[in-house]
Every structure is written in structure tokens, then in C-alpha cells.
Amino acid sequence: MKKGSVAIFAMLIGGMIYLIWRPESLLMFAWAEALGLLHMVDALREFGNEYLPNPPAWFLNSLPHALWMFCGIVLLETVWRKESIRWFLFWTIGLITVSLFSELGQISGLLPGTYDFGDIAGMLVASIAGYAVTIGANINQGEENNENGYY
């Protein structure tokens, strides 16, 4: 399966976790209502409640953000593949930094949300996984360094 597909799949799984199990007071449910998609979301939640087991807290709270982080790194690699490792690192480190600061901003109350160390741990693991997948896949393909020094 192509890396881009894996990234999109990870993003969708993260989104599904939110839509099925998280409370309806989240902003995304208001967006779904505004877009006229609430009936689809309700059907999804009913299915989840009826047929799927109740997941643990880390699965609900930390995994979606970790999956989105993974998705971001892999998608950015597909954009910058064979072009420039510098720009790939620029964008991915930017993504990681913004995500970490948004989590840390919750401690001081600057940003809405509840600080959870599990979220930070999840993001760090996802970042490592993202880099491992992108770099590992390119090594396996036997690609040689191009003139920009990428792979």
C-alpha cells in the first residue's frame, strides 16, 4: 500500500474515533450539523455503541492526535520526496512544534483543552513512527541521494 494511502487511513481512523466515541459537545459535531452531516454521524455513533467494545481512555484521548501527527509527517514526505530533505524537516518539525505547544498551552490555560501527558507521549511516538516509515521505506527502495541530498 502506498504511504499516502496509509496516512489518509490513519487520519480517517483518528477522525472515526472522535466521531464514534467522543462527546457531542466537541466543535466538530457543530460543524457536522452545519454541513447537514449529523444524521450520518448519529448512525455511526449508534453502530459504534451497539457493535464495538468500549475502548480504553488512551485510545479515545491520545491515539487520534498521534494518528494525525503520523499522517502529517507521512503526507509531507510524499510532497517533498526526492526534492529537499531540508524543507521536509522544516515542515515536519513545524508540525511537531505547533502540536507540542498547543498541548503545553493547555497547562497554562492559554489554549482550550485538558493537558494530558499521554497526548505528548503519543505525538512523540507518532513522530518517530512517521520518520521511521518515511525513511525506512526509501532505504528499502534503494533510492540514492539526489543532488539536494535527500535520500
Binding site: 472522535y18 501527527m69 502540536s99
Partner: protein, 140 residues
Amino acid sequence: MGTIRKHILSAGILSALMLLAIGSVDTDEDTKRIQGQAPDYRTTADALFSEFKENEVAADAKYKGKIVVVSGVIQDIGKDVMDQAYIVLGGGGFLDGVQCTFTESQNASVGSLTKGESVSVKGEISGKMGNVLITKCSLQ
């Protein structure tokens, strides 16, 4: 694909992920936080309104931003200009009660209330504008 297009695409990916993160913000978090806190004051709607009517400056200093549990008889039930559900406790005339505003998640609870019913409500006092205003309310 040109480098500029790749930067635009990268910014788009980041924006999409930021949008997902913003969408995961709980709009009811303040209400939940207040529900979990011990109230600073417990009072009746009429007593609270009297304090604000007597000296609004002193009452603001005492109550503004504080968490209270207010009890009283429901005088009015409705939705404000922001489409948020509210009830007015106490009073009986015009703008002489305590208006408690609820977030959307409380709509089902507010919808089951009737005028004349006695209730207790927990929330955060934001001041007086006609009625004394309490926001992020939940029924006790």
C-alpha cells in the same frame, strides 16, 4: 510540481491537521470544569438580585467570576440572541431576576423544565445587565 506549489500543499496539510485539532475542542469544557468545582457561594435568586440592586459595584467585586449555586422559581425559559438556552430564576416583574445561560449540551435538561418549577443551578456569575447573569450553567 514546483517548489512553491509544494509549500502551498504543505501549508494545506498543516492547516487541515490544525482544523482537526480545533474541531476536537470541547465547547462544553468550561461547564464541565465548573460542575466539578465547589461553589464559592450558595444563595437564592432573589437574594442575589437584591445584592446587585443594592450596590452593583460591591456585588461585582464579590461575585464576578465566582461559581455559585442559585436556587429559585423559574420565571421564564427561552433562547437568547446567540441561540443559547436560558432560564430566569426569581423576580416576577421585568429584568428583576437571575438569568442562567446553558451550553448546547444542556438543552435536553432545560427542555424538560417548566415555569413555576423550583430548581437549583450552578454557574459562573458574569455581572448584571438588567437581570443578574450567570453563564456555563448546569442544573443541580
